[in-house]
Structure formats: structure tokens, C-alpha cells
Symmetry: C2
Subunit: 438 residues, 2 copies
Amino acid sequence: MNIVLLSGGSGKRLWPLSNDIRSKQFIKIFKKEDGTLESMVQRVYGQIREVDPQATVTIATSKSQVSAIHNQLGQDVGICVEPCRRDTFPAIALATAYLHDVKGIPLEESVVVCPVDPYVEEDYFRVVEQLGQQALKGQANLVLMGIQPTYPSEKYGYIIPRTQDPVSEVETFKEKPDAETAQKYIDQGALWNGGVFAYKVGYLLDKAHQLIDFTDYQDLFDKYEKLEKISFDYAVVEKETKIQVMRFAGQWKDLGTWNTLTEAMEDPCIGEGMLNDTCQNVHVINELSVPILCMGLKDVIVSASAEGILVSDKEQSSYIKPFVDKIDQQIMFAEKSWGSFRVLDVEDESLTIKVTLHAGHGMNYHSHQYRDEVWTVIAGEGRTVVDGIEKKVKVGDVITMPAGCRHTIFADTELQLIEVQLGKEISVQDKQKYELER
Amino acid sequence: MNIVLLSGGSGKRLWPLSNDIRSKQFIKIFKKEDGTLESMVQRVYGQIREVDPQATVTIATSKSQVSAIHNQLGQDVGICVEPCRRDTFPAIALATAYLHDVKGIPLEESVVVCPVDPYVEEDYFRVVEQLGQQALKGQANLVLMGIQPTYPSEKYGYIIPRTQDPVSEVETFKEKPDAETAQKYIDQGALWNGGVFAYKVGYLLDKAHQLIDFTDYQDLFDKYEKLEKISFDYAVVEKETKIQVMRFAGQWKDLGTWNTLTEAMEDPCIGEGMLNDTCQNVHVINELSVPILCMGLKDVIVSASAEGILVSDKEQSSYIKPFVDKIDQQIMFAEKSWGSFRVLDVEDESLTIKVTLHAGHGMNYHSHQYRDEVWTVIAGEGRTVVDGIEKKVKVGDVITMPAGCRHTIFADTELQLIEVQLGKEISVQDKQKYELER
């Protein structure tokens, strides 16, 4: 099977664990059989591999997620990077062109597009696989997954099938209704639209060429920024008459809010947390290194990270976005392809951070105009280059870099250092990169 | 007036703001008229000074609180340090001997003893002053304050006065009763025993000499560790027949739990906190530098410090102690006479801390056997001495100190540094102090 996972943008609805640079699909909260934790993207990727070890998995995403995806899934996963956000139709067109032109998938093969973040079991991906097989038959140009509703939700679109067969033609689509209308749809046999659909590569590329003037993947990539923002539903689904829906009646949860996310947690606490006996339906996700003690709470989520602390009634937590939008804050932690950094201390004229470099990785060779820096290596071994001179470094070594000095560090083993930045104008913008002559 | 404030030990009931090394009376949570915050001890000290600018105030406390008291009240306040904890009778005897032998207070003057942490207004200290004047009259050997009860509390002892006059002889004392019995006492005109009492210096020293074999303050101090633990109530009050009680009907609150403490907070948030509209009776005290967002909570206290985070129903918060006892944790922040330190990062073989030195203060001259250290000065100016050699230091200077090297730093202005400790066995015990030859 060829599967495209749409890995959406940064969301604030799971603040403080998700934010401008960290998306919910990378938060490790699901317990594996061996007791370790995995993220949504790791869970979904593993489930696909379990159902079809030969599947070609391509993640359609933005540049900002590439490091996190490689860190969590390894280097082998296919990634189709959108140069910028242009809604779902351009993203799916780009991913399909990538599959055809870069990966060599023939026009007559099928592709299934699926969000990266449903909370499901393997039966879901077996139906995903059947969706692809159904598309191959050519009875319809699009085959959608229709999820058997469990309650009259106002959060989803509905698909009305023509028959109650496992695979049926689509009678019509309905936008997100109110609960009463949703119940009427369900009584008529309607299904939730979970955003999963299959098509043949050739069909989609034809549609893309009709709407966008491009030659191949690279040309589409180069033009991407100039494309109109248009949704796949608007550009394709609403205009298509040959559409089928395939039923799925297994477990399917949308983990977009703290309320639904905590339902999927096996233990009440991730990280250091204590709940007393009088707590009911309380979940703690604690990424800090200090304990959280909860007493006498009911239906509450407590989540703490280097960015902040949320304490919320679970129902109320779905209204979080406008409050988080008000928080204008320095990024305190970030995962990068080369490792990670954590801000330890912020003063008017200094900033202290802890940098972790993965073995074999290094920083860019760079300088700062307005700040001096001091590195103290606290773990590992590596090599620094300062103004062109390379030196081996180990634990306890101190490197001082006045403003203007060009510098970098490579990790030969996993390496950690404390970086103290000193200056009146400390800013992430104050960075000049150079090619390293070696 | 001569007043002795009993400043009790570290309590865990206000964790994470109070802990083994930080007592609740030093937490800054009360808003002053100028908008800044003050602690219980600052508030009480200011109120006494307002009522009687000439008052001799002596704080009876343990060695561990001396730095915090000087930092918060300045150098002029009298402190009578107990060499160890020996309950209230030895503490009051020591403080009274200190007042007579060190401060020269004559035997016929009176002293009022008062806890350091009641939440009161100035009228309370006017009654405290009257207590001292009443003791001078010699009608009784002890004059107690009786607080007009506002509800049948089970938390306090009760005083039954002989008459309903403003000053009356004491008929009898009652131990902490159940609520029903408490109501009966109140119906009989009983008063709360708030632990405030006045006596003449000579009276108390006579009592002390009857029970303890000592010559003067210094002798008592030297013998202190060998003294029997005995309460003032047991040693003196229960055996005394000439006791009066003076009524106080003003505001008096015991801020020993988060529930009562938050009642005294003027604003719902201290530190960075946001409450949405659906929060009711929620208080946030946040000493961290990241925001706390609360949504849909009712009757909840959220308190965050470098030591941990408490999220508790206010009623439930009074049961906190056994849970905090279970938390065995490195001290993450401490206030010292010379400044403060905060732990920024803990790894197996490194520890990174931020040290703040007040102007004019320095560390002890010391060395470590098992760890190297690196200082990076991030604010201020001062002087280091490393293996006997003194150097001026300023922002950006880096000082490296291998294990065994003797070192110290003095702050000429307020000075901050990042200290990285490196070694396989990092421990606070690994410290050898030396005299500095200058």
C-alpha cells in the first residue's frame, strides 16, 4: 500500500506540550508493551508497518517537522516537504507528484491519504489497506472511509451512504451539524468523515494538472509558494460524482484536545506526579524534573513543560486556544535534527542554555555580532572549530568565544554543554553562518 | 514594649513554597500599599514598628533562619538563636535571659511573647502592647491574650475567663475540643488561646532557675543541647494560679494551610498566572518564570516553585504533609545571608547552578576533593581568590577551578554567576573550608 500521512501544523490546543514549534503528534504519551512511551506519529507508523511491512509511507509536512520526524521514525521514512502551507489540495497534489516522480509509483497504483493523528488500533489500517484496493478496482475515482458514529458529534462532517453495504456509493456530504441534526443523520445511517480517502495516482495528477500549471514534482515544488490556498474537499470531493464510502466500525478517536487525549492514557501520570485518594479522573503529564502533587481534584488535566503549566477542567480545556495565543513567550525547549536545547536561565544581559548534540552531529559554523559566548562541556567528547582552529574537547573543557568569533562544535559521542550567552542585545536573529573550510 | 517573636521551624504544609530549609513566614505573598509583596515576618515586624517605633523586637529562632531574617528585616533586628530545638519553655527562658543579660532589660520590665505568623491588623499589636502594660501592674504573673472566637474551631485551645470584663482572671484552660464542645465553651464566654502572653523578666527568670541549673544567658546557651524538651504551657501556665486574660476581638487568622493562607491574598495570582472566567475561588502562587493557565477550576490552589508544583482542592490541602514527606528531593533554591542559589540543571556527573551574591558579601574560602568547577560571571563585579591569588572579575570572565583548588569570590556590586560542577561524586558534603590569609 502507498500511504500519505498528513502531518499538520503546530497546534496550541495541547499547550504547554504543543506550541509554535512542537506539534501534538510528537508528544510521547502512549505506553508501549515494553513500558516505554511513544508519540502519535510513532504509534501510527508502527501500526502501518505491522499491517503491511512493505507499505510505502510518505509523510506530507512542513520543513519545521522534518527533524522531529527523523528523530522519532528514523531516516528511512519518506518525507514530502511542503515549502509553505497551502491547504490540503496543493499538499496532496505535491505528495502524489512526489510519489510518482520521485518514488516511481505508477499512475495506475492507488494512494491512501490519512491524517497522522487518529488514535486507532490495527483494524483501522486494515480498512485503510482495503480502501487502496477498492480504489484500484476503478468503480469510483475516490473511496472514502466512513466511520461508524458513536454519538451525535458536532465536530465532524457526515457522509450519507446510498446503501448500508460495507462499500456504498455516497449519496451526499453534510457539514458539521448541531447535535440534533447529527442525530437525524445517524438515524439515516450517516457516517463520520475521518479525512481518509484513496485514489489512483493518475486520477489525482490529472485533477492537479487541470487546476495547476506544472510539469512535474520539482516544478510544482518550485511554484508552491505562488499556489492558491484551496482545500481538497472543495477542489476535488465536492465536484466528484464517482465516490464510494467504505465502512469502519472499530475504535477511532480524535485526540485533538486534552480531554480526548487523556482518555487514551494508560496511567494517570506521565512523569513525576502524585495523586491522593480523593482525586477522580485526574491526569498529569509532567515534563519537568520536579514533582507535581494533586489533591482532591476531579476531572482535571495538569500538564507541565518548560513552556508553562496548564491546570484545567477537562471539558474546559477545549477552549484553551485564545488564552495560549495571549502568551507571548520565548521558546524554552526545542528538538532539532542535531539534538536539542533547553533554556535554563534568562537575565537582561545573559541567557544560559543546555545544548545536547547527537553523536555525529554538529552546529552550523557561525558567529554573533552582539554577544560573547562561553561553553562548558558537561558530557561527551567532540571537536570545536574556533576561528578556523580545530581542537578536541572533553568534559570540563571551557571554550570562550567573543562576539565576532566564528565557531562550531561537532559531537563524536553524544555531547552536552552549558552555553552562557552574554550581551546587551541577545537575539536568535544575531547569527551569521559560514561555510566551514576543512 | 519588649516583644519576643517565636519563629517556628520549617513546615511542609505550605509545600512547595515551604520545605526543609524555607519556612512559611518568609514567603512573600502579602501585597503592600506600594504594590510590592512582603512576607508574614515582614508584615508583622512592620506592624509592631507602626504601633511602637521604640519596641525592642527579638526573634527567637533557629540558626537556619538567621540569614532569611536579616535579608528580610535588615541587620538591626534582635535575634536570639536557639542552638537546637528544645520546645517552648527553654526557648522562652533563653530569649528572656538574652533580653536581660545581653540587651540589659531590667527584671521589673515586662516582655510579651507572640508567634511570628498570625495574620492580623495593627489593633492586635495595640492589645499586645496593653498586655505588657497589664503585666507591669503585678496583678498577675502571666497575662494572656484571649481571642474572641468566630466559630467553634477544633484547632485551638480555649481559655475560660472568670468574668466578661476586658481583663479577667482565668477560670480554667481547655484543650482542643471537638466542634460541639467548642460551641459549649463559646456559649460560656470562652476565648481562643492564641499563644500570646506577657510576664515580667524577673518572674520568668525565677521560673527558669527553678527548673534549669544555669547562671546567665551564655551559660544557658552552652547547656541548651542538654536541656529537657518541655512546653511553656506544661512548665509554667498550668502551674500558675495568678493568671489574667485580656480580650482581643479584632481580626486574627492562623495562616498555617493553603486554605487559610489564600484567604489573605489580595489578588488571585502572585507571579505569572491566568484564570479563565469559569474559575471560582482559585488562587495561583507561581515562583517559576513560566506562565500557569487555569481553566474551569473551583476552590483550587495552584502553587509552583523550583521544588515542585501543588494543585489541590483548598480543603484537601490541609492533608498535604504525609505526601510531601514522601518527596525526597534535592533542594533547588535557597536564600542565604550572602545571597541565593538556584539549581538549573542536574545530570549524573554535572550540576549547574546560578549563584547570586549580594554586594559586599563573599563565599567561604573552600575547596572540593571530588569535583571541578567553572564559574562564568553573568552580572556585576567582584574579586576571586584562587589558590591565594586575588583577581578582579567582571561580566564574561570565566574561572576554572580543578578539584583541590582553593577558591572564593567576593561581590563588589551585586554579582551573579553560573557555576558548573563536574565530577562523578557531586555532593554538598564535599567541601573543605579554609581561613583566608589577606
